[in-house]
């Protein structure tokens, strides 16, 4: 049943329907509404049995989740941005231990300069942790992915991170069909851990592993991620038959059948891209979209197939590796290395800067006329950049760039447009 509901609230209700037994979190924008709602559900007793634990840091939040999961409880947490970085040692540890923790990442930029708005820098920082990373395009998918995440995590004994765009999704109120408890129960069985701390059958978990076995243990983690590439489509089709709608999967294509230009992206920006593509189609431009839902493990074969007929591919991403370029672009380039396509990397939406339909249409127009360069920073204000570059070149103590740029702009508020 569709309800007008905030994305965070809908995710919280969905997670509650997944019957988590231990929920532990530390507040950070824009994740707060999710954990506040779950905390209230536990306190009033509508989510039971469940232990809701307020901790002193994200490092503790992930650590509590590790302990709970290793002791056989279904564990959930949520974080964003700096919080993910602060817990990073434990994020790696959870994956290394093979604990099926599910975490929502309300995607947000990473400082400095401090910025609470949306981009994908946090998720990219966790790219190599061993967590499965799923990206939600809509709030409906954000809800659905959590159910799939618990199922997937527990089948494979691997942690899963559900990435949803901070504010753009978490704080958006829209019509969402929060999955019914009975449907969730039929899709998600009771958690049966592969390894558990049990005084009746004591085992040691977390031994030191030296060169004699470390490669094999790590390779097993890799294989489990690759297993996920097989399992995710299966679960998606099972999900569709249980819930009556498509969600999850490895990737989604939109108008790609005859497309010569395809835009690849992650997350909520796909909606805007589709609008822009529809507009360009009206003008006769053969463009399409590939939205990647499963970013880790990376679905190389599916990406290659989806892009096989394209002549030009634009990877639009809300993060980049400083001194290198696009992160997703590198993955797409790797997947299509044997194809004769022209690949363009477009870095957009950093720190919450709006990615407008108009900017995307202009981008597609540039592409159609072979004006798009290999790497583009969308809507970059080069005038401001040049001012600061000139200052750095002329004065030794030129001061902090972030403050200088704000001063040049003549505003202290975040510019999102």
């Amino acid at each position: 049943m569709l309800r007008q509901i905030e994305g965070s609230r809908a995710v919280a209700e969905t997670v509650a329907h997944c019957r988590p037994e231990v929920v532990c979190a530390y507040p950070i924008s824009p994740q707060t509404h999710i954990i506040e709602a779950i905390g209230a559900m536990v306190k009033e007793g509508s989510l039971a049995p469940c232990e809701f634990i307020n901790v002193e840091s994200e490092f503790a939040a992930m650590s509590v989740s590790i302990g709970a999961s290793a002791a056989g409880a279904r564990a959930y947490t949520a974080t964003a941005s700096q919080g993910l970085l602060f817990m990073m040692e434990a994020v790696y540890n959870a994956a290394g231990l093979g604990l099926p923790i599910v975490m929502t990442l309300a995607n947000r930029a990473i400082g400095a300069p401090i910025n609470i708005w949306n981009d994908h820098s946090d998720a990219m920082a966790a790219r190599d942790t061993g967590w499965i990373q799923l990206f939600a395009e809509t709030n409906q998918e954000a809800c659905d992915l959590h159910i799939l995440a618990f199922r997937l995590a527990e089948e494979l004994s691997l942690p899963v991170m559900v990435c949803m765009d901070g504010f753009i999704l978490t704080h958006a109120v829209e019509g969402i069909d929060v999955p019914e408890q009975s449907d969730v129960d039929s899709f998600l069985p009771v958690y049966e851990p592969r390894q558990v701390l049990d005084p009746a059958d004591p085992i040691s978990i977390g031994a030191m592993v030296g060169p004699e076995a470390f490669t094999e243990v790590r390779y097993l983690s890799h294989l489990r991620q690759l297993d996920a590439l097989e399992l995710i489509p299966t679960l998606a089709s099972e999900f569709a038959s249980t819930f009556g709608r498509e969600s999850g999967g490895l990737l989604h294509t939109y108008r790609t059948d005859d497309a010569t230009t395809i835009v690849v992206a992650l997350g909520s920006v796909l909606g805007t891209i589709k609008d822009a593509v529809d507009r360009r189609r009206e003008l006769g431009d053969r463009v399409g979209v590939v939205g990647i839902t499963t970013f880790r493990p990376f679905p190389f074969d599916d990406v290659r197939d989806a892009l096989s007929h394209a002549q030009k591919v634009i990877v639009m991403e809300k993060a980049f590796s400083v001194g290198y370029g696009g992160v997703l672009s590198a993955d797409v380039a790797s997947a299509t290395h044997d194809a004769t396509i022209s690949l363009h990397s477009v870095v957009a939406g950093l720190g919450g800067r709006a990615i407008t339909q108009q900017s995307i249409e202009e981008l597609l127009d540039d592409t159609a006329h072979d004006r798009l360069r290999p790497v583009t920073f969308l809507d970059l204000d080069l005038g401001i950049v040049d001012l600061e570059r000139a200052r750095i070149g002329s004065v030794r103590r030129s001061g902090p760039s972030a403050e200088n740029v704000l001063s040049d702009l003549g505003t202290v508020a975040s510019r999102i447009g």
Binding site: I53, V55, S57, G67, A70, E89, S204, I205, A207, G210
Partner: protein
């Protein structure tokens, strides 16, 4: 804990054999049915105080919980020497996650037991001094503040031994470590630094805080037993000499630990809800020199010319502890041995 002084024939060492005690007063370790939580075959150094302390503490916790125990371990010597893959010395359910998160992991385990209604399963977390007072302090303070149902045991050997004897926030003044070398006008670790972790634990108002040494293993077992009779956050700080890091003879681990207590440098006490309720008295008060001079980490304080000025500053610390905790008792009590009654 109520204690009834029991008089025994003086045996000189102040140790008393289990055979002199009633069955119920004998150590857990003397029981053939002990759990051997930390079994033989591990890779600890000869004379390791931590291995000794952990074995007694965990076996006592196992008895107190009727075997319903899960242990969480921080990274460190105890973790490394006990679980070289694929071997393990642990005969109890045991989890190692990271260096700085053992208190939080233990909170998670305890939460899992609570949510599953397994109320008889109890949780112990353990770490060295680095994993307690330094890198684990944030998580430990959080666990204390929430009063989670976890007994946290710190095995304090006063430096980062696993990485090669570097200074920690528990390293005593003047001690030589690899990062506080015995050079310059003020050799060794500086004065006026370091954390008094038991008092920090007490300041959280948690139900139980106690200190112990491996010189009095009966006392250590009693304190574990006492801790497991309670719920909520509990803290046990055990002084465990490290022959390698302290430069003491492997055969002197117990002696060194005893001298730490008898000099007053390491007060042995219990506290409940932030108030000291019991102190273990000094039996033969002795100068700090007797303790310091048998450890190479303090070797730069002795010989010719030596640093009597620094030794005097350390003696002042011991004197302060003795006065602060009231560690000296009258002659009659001094001649008794106390056991738990």
């Amino acid at each position: 804990m109520s204690r009834q002084p029991v008089h025994f024939y003086q045996v000189g060492s102040f140790a008393v054999g289990n055979r002199l005690l009633d069955d119920e007063d004998r150590t857990v370790q003397s029981d053939p049915g002990r759990s051997d939580s930390l079994d033989s075959g591990h890779r600890a150094c000869q004379g390791c105080g931590e291995a000794l302390g952990a074995r007694y503490a965990l076996d006592a916790a196992m008895r107190a919980t009727n075997g319903q125990l899960i242990a969480v371990n921080a990274t460190g010597c105890l973790e490394v020497f006990s679980t070289p893959y694929p071997e393990t010395s642990w005969r109890i359910a045991w989890l190692h996650s990271l260096f700085g998160n053992a208190p939080a992991v233990a909170t998670g385990v305890a939460a899992a037991m609570k949510v599953k209604g397994l109320n008889d399963v109890r949780v112990v977390a353990q770490a060295g001094d680095g994993g307690t007072v330094d890198i684990g302090f944030g998580c430990l303070s959080g666990m204390f503040e929430r009063n989670d149902d976890v007994l946290f045991i710190c095995y304090d050997n006063e430096a980062y031994m696993n990485t090669g004897v570097q200074r920690s926030g528990a390293t005593p003044p003047a001690a030589r470590t690899a990062t506080t070398e015995a050079v310059g006008p003020q050799p060794g670790n500086v004065f006026g630094q370091g954390k008094d972790m038991p008092r920090l634990a007490m300041a959280h108002g948690i139900p139980y805080v106690a200190t112990a040494t491996v010189a009095d293993l009966h006392d250590l077992e009693n304190k574990v037993q006492r801790a497991m009779e309670m719920h909520g956050a509990r803290y046990l700080h055990v002084l465990v000499p490290c022959p390698l890091g302290w430069g003491s003879a492997s055969c002197d681990t117990i002696k060194v630990a005893r001298l730490a207590k008898e000099t007053g440098l390491f007060p042995v006490f219990e506290a409940e809800n932030g108030v000291v309720t019991n102190v273990s008295p000094i039996r033969h008060r002795t100068s700090v020199e007797s303790y310091l001079s048998i450890q190479k980490r303090f070797g730069h304080l002795f010989g010719t010319p030596g640093r009597p000025d620094i030794v005097a500053r350390i003696q002042a610390i011991a004197d302060h502890n003795i006065a602060h905790y009231g560690l000296l008792v009258d002659e009659e009590r001094d001649a008794t041995l106390e056991v738990s009654a």
